[in-house]
């Protein structure tokens, strides 16, 4: 911080991530509106609180261990490098850098002067950017399981997905030195697999153990459509998710570093793998993939608003893995094809396996993210995955294996095991009587009782004043 240009670079980077955090907050406003709009009136408050409390729980646990996982586990479980856990003294929850710090010499012996100078002004905002990704991962599961999951059980699952499994996959495949990048050439620049596929896989696992809502399927097994009670709330919710997605894209970049190897310097934005990209590139591709999704899903769903909006989101998710490098028309086509496949898959899985995914989260995020990673493997075949010499190039098989790891190994399996345990001890699903009459009985009880008391008191006051007999 002793030269003006150096200080400007640091403070610009600090401010850059801070802005992304504020923008990404809209994702969670959107998720809350979307879920409440999708639920029936008898379940509003429960649905709202279930999603809201993901925020503080994942925040606390991501502080306690999530951030450390990202920096400590890129080597994977003995699969890359020497398989060891890396030192990350700036990310341990007891580090002095996990708090207000001006970057002077360290007090703790674990840290060096370089650590404090590098991380003091970046650690909090970089942590928060990743934290907002973590909330998203937890919230994706939330939508699928509305109207019958017990909140306490869901929150344990959300902590596991938001502060453990997704950040393990980020360490493996979304870290410049992750073993999946090094050995598989895994490329997933804007997190098709790293966030969406893993959360979709987890949602599918929980849905299998949770079962469908009462009344979802007829006696002959055909599904009933439980429509969103408030399409306007759903609409605004999804628009806010789109808005937050801008922040998400920008947060996946590093705004300004020297990318020139060898002689000379060249300052550029990079993706998370430290390969150069530009904000213009991702802006083209974000908008074209969104457009592809909206246009295609409008047709395939015969103009259904719920699916058209979800399809727009799925279009972005489907193209995100390669949206740092695609041509905008490629992003448009991928953004159109992926949600059409996901739309068809959603209804096929619903009919075939009696899976009641209330908001289509498994399709939009899970299948969309999986396909996005696989398609990027073909589209970017032969591209370098990293600026580091010796790393594998991007290939279809590398990205396919990566997609399986995201959706299946780290998404589906841990969530299946945890939700099966919660089911076995009888705390995964709410009592059936409560599901029938609505979850808001408890939430409303205190408020309406108080309202009635207050109303009685007002009437007594009016009588005492002689204004009412």
């Amino acid at each position: 911080m002793d030269t003006e240009i150096g200080s400007l670079t640091i403070i610009f980077t600090e401010f850059y991530y801070w802005i992304t955090v504020v923008l990404m907050f809209f994702i969670h406003v959107g998720f809350c509106m979307y879920e409440v709009g999708s639920s029936r009136q008898k379940n509003h408050m429960h649905t709202l609180m279930k999603n809201t409390m993901v925020i503080p729980l994942v925040t606390l646990t991501f502080f306690l261990f999530g951030w450390w996982i990202y920096f400590a586990l890129p080597n994977g479980p003995g699969l890359g490098g020497d398989g060891s856990i890396l030192d990350a003294p700036w990310a341990t929850p007891w580090s002095e850098l996990m708090g207000a710090h001006l970057g002077g010499p360290p007090v703790s012996g674990e840290l060096t002067a370089d650590d404090t100078a590098s991380w003091a002004r970046i650690n909090g905002v970089f942590w928060a950017a990743f934290l907002l990704f973590s909330w998203t991962a937890g919230s994706i599961v939330s939508g699928a399981v509305i109207e019958r999951v017990r909140s306490g059980a869901f929150w344990l699952i959300a902590v596991m997905v938001g502060s453990c499994t997704w950040i393990i996959d980020a360490a493996w495949g979304w870290h410049p030195n992750g073993w999946m990048v090094e050995q598989l050439g895994y490329h997933d620049a804007y997190a098709s697999g790293v966030i969406h596929a893993i959360a979709g896989g987890a949602a599918l696992a929980v849905l299998i153990n949770l079962g469908p809502r009462i009344g979802k399927f007829r006696a002959d097994g055909t599904p009933r459509n439980i429509v969103p009670h408030n399409p306007w709330l759903v609409t605004i919710g999804l628009f806010l998710i789109y808005t937050g997605f801008w922040g998400f894209y920008v947060a996946c970049n590093i705004p300004i570093i020297d990318v020139q190897s060898g002689d000379g310097v060249y300052y550029s934005a990079t993706n998370i793998y430290l390969t150069p990209t530009t904000l213009s590139a991702i802006t083209f591709n974000f908008l074209l993939s969104l457009s592809g999704g909206l246009l295609a899903t409008y047709i395939v769903s015969r103009g259904d608003a719920f699916w058209t909006y979800s399809g727009g989101l799925c279009g972005v998710i489907g193209a995100s893995a390669g949206n740092d490098l695609y041509h905008p028309i490629q992003a448009l086509i991928i953004g159109a094809v992926v949600p059409v496949i996901c739309y068809k898959l959603h209804y096929w899985v619903e009919r075939r396996f009696k899976i009641d995914d209330a908001v289509g989260a498994v399709a939009v995020h899970g299948y969309g993210g999986f396909l996005g990673v696989v398609i990027a493997g073909f589209m970017l075949w032969g591209y370098p995955s990293s600026p580091t010499e010796g790393y594998a190039a991007i290939t279809p098989w590398g990205n396919f294996i990566g997609a399986v790891i995201m959706f299946g190994v780290l998404g589906f399996i841990p969530a299946y095991v945890l939700s099966a345990i919660l089911k076995a001890v009888g705390v995964l699903r709410i009592p059936r009587e409560i599901e029938l009459v609505g979850l808001d009985l408890s939430e409303y009880a205190g408020r309406y009782m108080a309202e009635e008391d207050v109303h009685k008191a007002e009437l007594e006051e009016a009588r005492a004043a002689g204004w009412l007999r």
Partner: protein, 78 residues
Amino acid sequence: MTLEEVGSWGGNIADIGPLYPMVGSEGILVLLGFVFWIGWHILQFRMESVNYQDDVQTMKENGNFARALNGERILRPM
């Protein structure tokens, strides 16, 4: 060097590291964070179980279940 040790903003700012009070107590603070987190889940599970028991009990009384299914708002006492 911590701000507590410096004691003023008048010295060399570049020498200042942590700004928060009680530097050195981070381990205990993290332990408190874990207790807060785990304790919250335990309290929440208990609260939720009691809520559902009370709700189910309310539904069993005075024909409340049928009335609730017919759209009437049934409130359980707090």
